[in-house]
């Protein structure tokens, strides 16, 4: 069984169950303080177990693969989870019920992300992805008395159900065409026989299901409404961990389904598929974000834009002509993911803290003169926005740099990719515009006359989250050699010959 390989997962599962239990037995006054501690400690313990144990091998009768790739993703998810719990704590303090459920669901969803990175067959893929998705439905509608939140949950449920249907139908077709759901066998099937129309259709449907998670065009329509309506910490979860589940699976599936057929006509057809989706996603996200005046909505559109950059990296993996270039592309996506995690969580730590002020709290005007009301929050948001825009010395620059790096590297043999490079470059400029608008709001404007004026109180949890976030942003932006090496090792294991 090799249960020692899944110790981190078990710890997260126990943490989730414990969070629910504690909130049932603890005295009501202590709940709000106690439950985040339980969740945070469980995640920290799981992270330590992962880093110390460095699990490597297959567990649960071959259905759970612990390799460098899954370790990277799981580490990322756990580290992001710790930040997420910290920033949620200042939100859940304001709740009068449901602390256990909130953190329990959060941890189960996070468990889903961890499992996603280690799946070895399509069934595991579907089940672990649904673990993320179904918990997200509940979390998005968590403020059930708020019409916006309920709407967000419902919308997410409807669109999500359709995409789950896509995914499941795709899996069925793949099974029908290839006679197997196991990744290893699928991979050798594709390598030997290429894509039959049925298999191509099945794989395409599976990818579409993943595009939904990743919020890529044309499966992005849910994102702005859901991001805006859901509670801020849940939005943070959706735009970081939940989105990463999509990309992790895209990388895994591309490496087993598409890469073995690379060089054949049926394999190369996928370059156009991914390239077009990437370009449209980039343009849609960045153009859509420009007129937004609600910060959560703005971040929703910008997160679609970021999905576009990561899809550029995925396209490189599909289009590259050598394994070295593929590794570059996959490593770029992973570094981008890491940079995006820390950046977006820092931004949402600020959003959560600012949103404690009452109605209209997410409008960009609520950020006017933020530097006077809370220099710390304004500075953190400044760094986060600049990082999202890809400005040095922040983490975001490294992600963008590596994506462009791998893209130009692969474009030498496939000049068509330069067109994607141009779209990506335009995206940088467009995104800078709307991030700078918000920065101007914070630094060049005075607090709105009819809005709150006084200093903004930042709770301890949010404060720690902000400090950790700033540290992570700068560390990953300046000393990125370590993260890059880890991402390369992860990417290498993705393309290693599997038994």
């Amino acid at each position: 069984m090799n249960l020692h390989l899944i110790v981190p997962e078990v710890l997260v599962l126990l943490g989730g169950l414990l969070a629910v239990t504690v909130s049932l037995v603890a005295p009501p006054a202590r709940r709000a303080g106690l439950v985040p501690w339980v969740a945070g400690l469980a995640l920290a313990a799981a992270l330590v177990a992962l880093l110390v144990g460095r699990p490597d091998g297959e567990a649960l009768a071959g259905s759970h693969l612990s390799d460098a790739f899954s370790r990277f993703v799981r580490g990322l998810a756990l580290a992001g989870g710790v930040l997420l719990v910290l920033l949620s704590s200042s939100y859940t303090r304001r709740l009068d019920r449901g602390h256990g459920e909130f953190y329990g669901l959060l941890l189960f969803a996070l468990l889903g992300v961890m499992l996603v990175s280690a799946v070895t067959d399509l069934m595991g893929l579907f089940v672990s992805l649904e673990l993320v998705t179904i918990t997200s439905y509940v979390l998005a509608a968590f403020k059930r008395n708020d019409a916006r939140s309920a709407e967000a949950g419902l919308k997410y449920l409807v669109v999500g159900a359709v995409s789950s249907a896509f995914l499941l139908f795709g899996c069925a077709l793949v099974y029908g065409a290839a006679g197997t759901v196991e990744f290893a066998t699928l991979s050798s099937h594709v390598a030997g026989k290429g894509f039959s129309p049925l298999l191509a259709l099945g794989a395409g449907l599976v990818f579409c299901g993943l595009f939904f998670k990743a919020a890529a065009v044309p499966f992005q329509v849910w994102a702005p409404d859901v991001y805006q309506g859901a509670p801020a910490p849940v939005t943070a979860f959706l735009s970081s961990l939940s989105k990463s589940a999509g990309f992790v699976l895209l990388l895994r599936l591309v490496s087993i389904l598409v890469v073995p057929a690379a060089g054949t006509p049926s394999g190369d057809a996928w370059i156009g598929f991914f390239g077009v989706v990437a370009a449209l996603t980039l343009l849609y996200g960045n153009l859509g974000a420009m007129p937004q005046r609600d910060v959560k909505r703005l971040l929703a559109y910008s997160s679609i834009g970021h999905a576009g950059y990561m899809l550029l990296g995925v396209t490189v993996v599909v289009a590259a002509k050598s394994t070295a270039l593929r590794i570059d592309g996959a490593a770029a996506v992973l570094v981008y993911l890491a940079a995006y995690y820390v950046t977006t969580l820092t931004a949402f730590a600020v959003v959560v803290a600012v949103s404690g002020q009452g109605r209209g709290h997410d409008a960009a005007s609520a950020y006017a003169g933020l530097h006077r009301r809370s220099p710390l929050l304004a500075f953190a948001m400044l760094l986060a926005l600049l990082s999202l825009a890809g400005v040095p010395p922040m983490a975001g620059l490294i992600g963008k740099f590596l994506v462009f790096f791998s893209l130009v590297g692969a474009a030498e043999a496939r000049p068509g990719l330069y067109a994607l490079g141009v779209v990506g470059a335009l995206g940088v400029v467009l995104s800078l515009y709307y991030y700078l608008l918000l920065i101007r709001e914070m630094y060049a404007k005075e607090p709105a006359a009819d809005g709150p004026q006084g200093p903004l109180v930042v709770p301890l949890g949010a404060r720690i989250a902000v400090f950790l976030g700033i540290f992570g942003l700068l560390a990953l932006g300046i000393w990125w050699a370590g993260a890059f090496d880890a991402a390369r090792a992860a990417a290498t294991s993705l393309f290693a010959a599997r038994s």
Partner: protein
Amino acid sequence: MNLPLVILLLPAFATLAIFAVPAGKPQVVKAIAFVATLAVLAVAILLAVTFETTDAPFETVRATGHVYKHVLSVPWVPALGLQLKLGVDGIGVAMVLLTALTIFTGVCVSFSVKERAKEFFLNLLALVTGVFGVFVSLDLFFYYFFYELAVIPMFLLIGCWGSTTKTMSRDYASMKLVLMLTTGAVFALLGLLAMYTKAGTFDMVRLEQLAATGTFSRAFQLAWFPPVFLGFAVLVPMWPLHSWSPGGHAAAPAAVSMLHAGVLMKIGAYGILRVAVTYMPAAAQVYLPWVAVLCCFNIVYGGMVAMAQKDMKFVVGYSSSSHMGYVLLGIATANVIGVQGAVYLMFAHGVMTALAFSLIGFFYEQTHTRMLDDLGGLMKRMPFVGTCFVIMSMASAGLPGFANFVSELLVIIGAWHAGMYVPAILATWGIVVTGVYLLRTVKAAFLGRMPARWEGLQDARTPFQKLPFVLLVSTLLLFGFWPAPLLSLIRQGVTPIVETLDKAAGRTAETGQR
């Protein structure tokens, strides 16, 4: 002790130190900024004076004999071969000296900033850290890194401390500046990455060696020269990509205009020389004649537009893009005389324009208007500032005795040698145009009847107020009367570039002429 590293770290640490100063202590902030930039200036002068005799670690490009001194490399991302590599050649030294001079005088004139002084100086020093980084980097990744680092503080400085006039709001100007510069930068980045893909290194010394030995094919060069060149040309700014620049000058606070026109624009010309021309000489030979055509628009059109301006900062702003046309013309000549003149002009124009914006900033603080129609007769109340302004105008118009004269003469001679007769003639005429609009400005602002409301104006009286102006004026005069040392410094960096260009064109290196 590696001097470029010191120059890079001094403003960086000053930025951190200012960050740590508690709010409400502007005097401490200003003292830190003053001391740090004075120290940088001292180190920069030391660097320049000892450059030819120093025995600091150096690296040579074998193919051309190009020497970079004070080389320091720290492995940064071994998997990609990235290193934090610092070092300078003659051109780099000249630019570092210019930057140090501009930021020191810029900090001096910014002592009057009252609002949010801490954040102002924080941004100013972050900006200059980036600028120094560009000039001392010998690795393309860090070159790009530092360049982008310099752009964003610019946005905040203009957006928060800038001025809004009827014709130009600071919001519009700052946004346009950042977006246009970033557009240029990302397209240039694609080109830099393409070079890495071909050459497998970001090390600029190595790239220069590889480029000289033909690693980049002619087709590659022809394809990638335009994006890289245009990416930097936005920054120069080359017509018709210049429209961010005058507005940016006009809206920015004095010290930022000084840095912006004095130094930031030179990064563009520096990038063109160091990257586009050096690494892609064959393509440069093909495209540079077109640049010579475009830069005539800079010179003549820029000058004509400057004539029509009513806002003094716009006059100087358009005059800057006119003068940068000479720099481009000098580069386009592709011979030692012209390119040397271009680099000398980068230095001279930087000092001159810093002087112009510091003077305008000085009386704008009291008058709160820069419109020529509102001013007049200021010489009566501010004889010192007025005199400096007249000196600046003379320098700008290329009168003998000023560094600008030396450089413009070299550029025009170089253009003539290169057979670019029409641009050379237009450039000569451009000097006349410059004279016209500057004399007109002097007349409107400093001579004639003074409106009664300016009776209360104060001249620069304390030595500290005069210091930046004196420093800049004397620099212009010093290098105008005694150009030899700076010229020989610049020639050290220029000759190898021209040699590469000559090789690409199949000419002999000795004559450097067609």
